[in-house]
Amino acid sequence: MPDVSWDSYSLLAVYSSMAVYAIAFIAFAFDVARRRDPEEQRAHERELVTAGGGSAPTTTAPATTARPARRNLAKVGFALTVLAWVLHAAGTVMRGIAAERVPWANMYEFALTSIAIIVGIFVFVQLWRDLRFLGVYITGLATVFLGVATVNFYVSPTPLPPALQSYWLVIHVFVAALGTGFFALGSGLSILQLLRSRASGLAFVDRLPGASALEDLSYRVSVIGFIFWTFTLIAGAVWAEHAWGRYWGWDTKEVWTFVIWVVYAGYVHARATRGWRGTRSAWLQLIGFAAILFNFTIVNVFFKGLHTYSGLE
C-alpha cells in the first residue's frame, strides 16, 4: 500500500529544490551578465584551448585559481545547484519509497527522474571539464521542467498496471533518462556553439570556448547519449515483444523513439561530413533534442497509443 506521507515529503523536497534551482539560475545569470577585464579573458582563452585539445596536464593550473574572486558568482550558482540537486534526488527517492517501486513509471515520475539525471550529469561532468558556463541553461531547464511536471503532470503514486510490471521498465526507462541527460547537456553546448560561431557582441558569448571546441564537447557528450538511446530503442523492442507480442509495431512512442535515433544518427554523420560539420551539425543536435522534448510532452499527452502511461486522464 503506497505511503501517502512519503509522497508529501517528496513533494516538499521537490518544491524546495525548484526554489533553489531558481536561485542558482539567478546566480549563474548574473555571472553571465558580468563583463570581464581583458586580462582575464585571455586567461580564460588559455583554458579553452585546453578544453578543446583535451590534454589533461595543463588543467592542473586553471586560470580560475589565479583570480578566485571573479568566479564567485559561478561558484555560488554551482554550490546552489548541487544543493538543489541533492533535494531533488532525495525527493525522487522518496517518491519511489512512497510508490514502493522505481520512481519512473508515469510522466510525473519520469520527469522527476530524468531532470535529476540531467542535472546530475551536469554536476558530475565538472569533474571532467569545467562546464559551469552551462549553468544558466541547465538550472533554467530544471526549474521550468520541474514546474511543468509538478503543476501539469502530478499524479499520486499508484501501483503499476500489469504491462509495466517488468524489469524492462527499470532498464528501458532509466536508460532513456540517461540518454536524455547527455543529449540535454549536448544541446546546451550546441546552442552556445551556434552563438559563438557568429559575432554576437555579447560579452558572455565572447568569453566562451571557441565554436569548434564547443562542438567537440557537444559531440563527445551527445555520442554517449546516442549509445544510451540505441540501447533504449533495443530494450524497448525486447520489452514490447514480451508485453504485446511484437517487438516493433510503429506505435506512436516507438515512432518517436525511432525518429530521435535517426536524427542523431544523422548528427553523428554530419560531424564527419565536410560541409556539415559545424553549424549544421549543431542544428541537427538541437533538432534531435527538440524531438526528445516533443516526444516527452506533446506525444505523451496528446497522441494515442499503447504507451499511454502518463497516468493523466
Binding site: G54, W168, W244, R246, V262, A265, R271, A272, R274
Partner: protein, 585 residues
C-alpha cells in the same frame, strides 16, 4: 608544454626551410591523413578532386558519378533526415496495423479528407511505397558505402603500419625528446606494450592502433542490413492469429477456429502448429486499497490447458510473460466479460442460449458493449444491443455506469430492435455490430418502452409479447494472440551486434604514432583517424615514456641499424603505405 619549449632551438633552425616547404608538409599530412576507407566528402579525406567543367562524362562516367553521389556521406545524411521526417505522419494519423479502430474513427470524422489519406497512404505509412523507397535508397547507399570499406579494411588489417612521413612537425603533438637512432628500438618496444602494431622504417618506427574502431563501424552498419533483411524475411515466414476465448472454452490452431489469422507469403494455414488451448480461468486482480488507484488492474493471469500430441498439460499466460508452445508464443492481449443469456419465445421454447462476449471500450471500469442477434424462432427478427456493467450504479441523469471493473453488481441493459437484421444480404457482418437501418427500436431511449434492465438470475419480458430473456451469469474472456516469428532471433542478434559495433566504433580511438630519430633527437607525433580527442595526450604520454619519466630507462642496445644513411631514407617521398595506393587516383 615544457618538452616543446625545450625543442625551440631545433624548431628555430628548421623555421626557414619549413616555410619553404610548407606546401609539401601539408601534402605529407594529407597523405598520412587521407583515409581511403571514407567517402570522398568525409572530413578526413582530402578535398574532392571532382572535375568542374572538365572533360565531359560519358555514360559510364555518369553512372560512376551517380553512384558516388548515392554513396556519399551527404546523401546518407539527407536520406536519414528524410527517413526521420517520413516516419512522423504515422504517429499523427492512425495506422491500420496498430490502430484499425482509430482509422475508422478518423475517416468517419473527416469524410472530406478520406481521398487524401488514401492518396498518400497515410493509414499505411510504414508499408507505403514512398516510405519503402527511402528505406531502400538508404540501404543501397549503406551497402555501397560499406562494401568497399570492408574490402579495404580487410587488407588494412593484414598490412603493416604505413611509412613514416618525411616531416612530422605538422602532425599532432609534435615534439622532440632526447635520444638517437639507437632508441628507436626501445620506442618500438614501448609502443608495442601500449598495444600498437608497429613497423620499423630505417631510423623510425611507425605505429598504429584501434583497427577495432573501423571493425566496429562496419559491424554496426552491417547489422543494420541484417536487421532489415531479417524483419522482411520474418514477415514472410511467420504467422499471427488472435482468438477470443471464454472461460471454460477452448480453441485449436486449425484456421477455422481462429478469429483472425495472417500468414506470411511462404506459410499456409496447414503449416500452423497443431495444438489446442483451453481457458480454465482468467484471474484478474484489481487494486482495492489505494484511494488514488481503486480499480486499477494489478494482475491478469490466464490459466490454460494446452493439448498437443494427444496430451494435455497446464500452462499460464500473463502480461509480460508469454507462454511458448511448439515454437509459437501465446500472449494475453486483452480481456472482458461475456454474459450468459437465454431467450425463450412466446411458446416457451429456448431459441438462444449462449455466452456472449461484450467488448470493453476505453472505460477503465469495464462497462462493455455487446450485441445479440436473434434471426430465428421469434415472431420477427430481433436485435438486442446494450451494455454490461460489472458494477452498476445509476447516475443522477438516470443513465447507468460502472463504478468498479470487477463484478460487484452486474447489470445488463439492452435496447430492443425488431425488423430485418440484414443477415441474408450476403454482406459479411460483424457479430459485434447491429445494423439498425432496417429495424425499429421497440424498447430503448428512442422507443415508447424503456430499455431492458436485467440483473443476474433475472428473467424479463421482451416487448410486444415476443418472449422472455434471462441473464444467467457472467464469465470472463481473454483475447489470446498466437504467433510465430522465425527471424526474431536474427533481429535480436543483429541488434546485439549493432550495439557492440557502436561501442567499439565510438569509444575506441584509432590513431597513428611515429617516433623518428633525427639530429635533434627523437621526433614524436601522432595522427587521428576519426574522432580522437585524446590524441595529444597520447603523444605526450609516449614522449614521457621515451624520456623515461614513467618507464625505467631501458638498457640501450641498439642493433646498429640506425646508420647515418637513415637520414636520407626519411627524405624519400612520403607514402601512406596504404595498399590501395593513392586514394585520390
Amino acid at each position: 608544454m615544457s618538452s616543446r619549449s625545450s625543442d625551440q632551438a631545433a624548431a628555430a633552425a628548421a623555421k626557414a626551410d619549413r616555410r619553404a616547404d610548407a606546401a609539401a608538409a601539408r601534402s605529407a599530412r594529407d597523405d598520412a591523413g587521407h583515409d581511403p576507407m571514407r567517402p570522398s566528402d568525409h572530413v578526413d579525406s582530402t578535398a574532392p578532386a571532382e572535375a568542374t567543367g572538365g572533360p565531359r562524362l560519358g555514360p559510364i562516367g555518369w553512372l560512376r558519378f551517380a553512384w558516388r553521389q548515392l554513396t556519399s556521406m551527404r546523401t546518407a545524411i539527407v536520406l536519414l533526415l528524410m527517413l526521420a521526417l517520413a516516419a512522423v505522419p504515422g504517429s499523427l494519423v492512425p495506422q491500420r496495423s496498430s490502430d484499425p479502430n482509430g482509422v475508422i474513427a478518423v475517416r468517419d470524422a473527416n469524410p472530406d479528407l478520406v481521398w487524401l489519406y488514401d492518396a498518400l497512404q497515410l493509414h499505411d505509412v510504414y508499408t507505403s511505397p514512398w516510405f519503402s523507397a527511402i528505406v531502400i535508397l538508404l540501404l543501397v547507399s549503406l551497402v555501397g558505402c560499406v562494401i568497399p570499406r570492408m574490402r579495404h579494411h580487410w587488407a588494412a588489417m593484414r598490412s603493416r603500419p604505413p611509412r613514416t612521413p618525411a616531416r612530422l612537425s605538422r602532425l599532432v603533438g609534435f615534439q622532440t625528446v632526447p635520444g638517437d637512432a639507437a632508441d628507436v628500438e626501445r620506442a618500438e618496444g614501448v609502443l608495442k606494450r601500449l598495444g600498437y602494431r608497429t613497423e620499423r622504417y630505417a631510423d623510425s618506427v611507425s605505429a598504429e592502433r584501434g583497427y577495432l574502431r573501423e571493425t566496429g563501424n562496419l559491424v554496426f552498419h552491417g547489422s543494420i542490413v541484417v536487421i532489415v533483411v531479417a524483419i522482411v524475411a520474418g514477415s514472410g515466414f511467420g504467422f499471427q492469429s488472435q482468438r477470443l476465448v471464454v472461460e471454460g472454452e477452448g480453441f485449436s490452431l486449425a484456421g477455422a477456429s481462429l478469429d483472425t489469422l495472417t500468414t506470411g507469403q511462404f506459410v499456409s494455414a496447414d503449416d500452423l502448429p497443431a495444438f489446442g488451448v483451453h481457458l480454465d480461468e482468467l484471474d484478474v486482480v484489481y487494486e482495492t486499497e489505494n484511494p488514488d488507484a481503486i480499480g486499477q488492474p494489478i494482475d491478469f493471469t490466464a490459466f490454460v490447458e494446452v493439448t498437443e500430441d494427444g496430451e494435455t498439460h497446464p500452462g499460464q499466460i500473463r502480461v509480460n510473460e508469454p507462454l511458448q508452445v511448439q515454437g509459437s508464443d501465446l500472449y494475453l492481449i486483452s480481456n472482458g466479460y461475456a454474459p450468459e443469456v437465454t431467450v425463450t419465445n412466446a411458446e416457451g421454447t429456448v431459441v438462444f442460449d449462449e455466452i456472449v462476449p461484450f467488448l470493453a471500450g476505453e472505460d477503465p471500469n469495464m462497462s462493455s458493449l455487446g450485441v445479440i442477434k436473434l434471426p430465428d424462432g421469434l415472431a420477427e427478427q430481433v436485435g438486442l444491443q446494450g451494455f454490461f456493467y460489472p458494477s452498476a450504479a445509476q447516475l443522477d441523469t438516470g443513465a447507468y455506469a460502472s463504478y468498479f471493473p470487477d463484478v460487484l453488481n452486474p447489470l445488463l441493459t439492452l435496447q430492443v430492435y425488431t425488423g430485418d437484421l440484414g443477415l441474408d444480404s450476403g454482406v459479411p457482418q460483424s457479430v459485434y455490430q447491429l445494423d439498425t437501418e432496417d429495424m425499429t427500436q421497440v424498447a430503448g431511449r428512442d422507443a415508447p418502452e424503456p430499455p431492458l434492465l436485467i440483473g443476474p438470475g433475472e428473467t424479463v419480458d421482451l416487448p410486444d409479447g415476443l418472449g422472455t430473456i434471462s441473464f444467467d451469469g457472467v464469465r470472463r474472456y481473454a483475447v489470446i494472440d498466437v504467433h510465430r516469428d522465425v527471424t526474431q532471433g536474427w533481429v535480436l542478434a543483429g541488434a546485439i551486434a549493432l550495439v557492440a559495433g557502436l561501442l567499439a566504433s565510438l569509444l575506441i580511438p584509432r590513431r597513428r604514432l611515429w617516433v623518428k630519430a633525427t639530429d635533434a633527437g627523437l621526433e614524436v607525433a601522432g595522427l587521428a583517424r576519426g574522432e580522437d580527442p585524446r590524441l595529444e595526450s597520447a603523444v605526450d604520454d609516449l614522449a614521457r615514456r621515451l624520456r623515461g619519466d614513467d618507464d625505467a630507462p631501458a638498457a640501450r642496445q641498439g642493433d646498429g641499424r640506425a646508420s647515418p644513411g637513415a637520414a636520407d631514407a626519411s627524405d624519400e617521398p612520403p607514402s601512406t603505405g596504404e595498399p590501395a595506393g593513392d586514394p585520390r587516383a
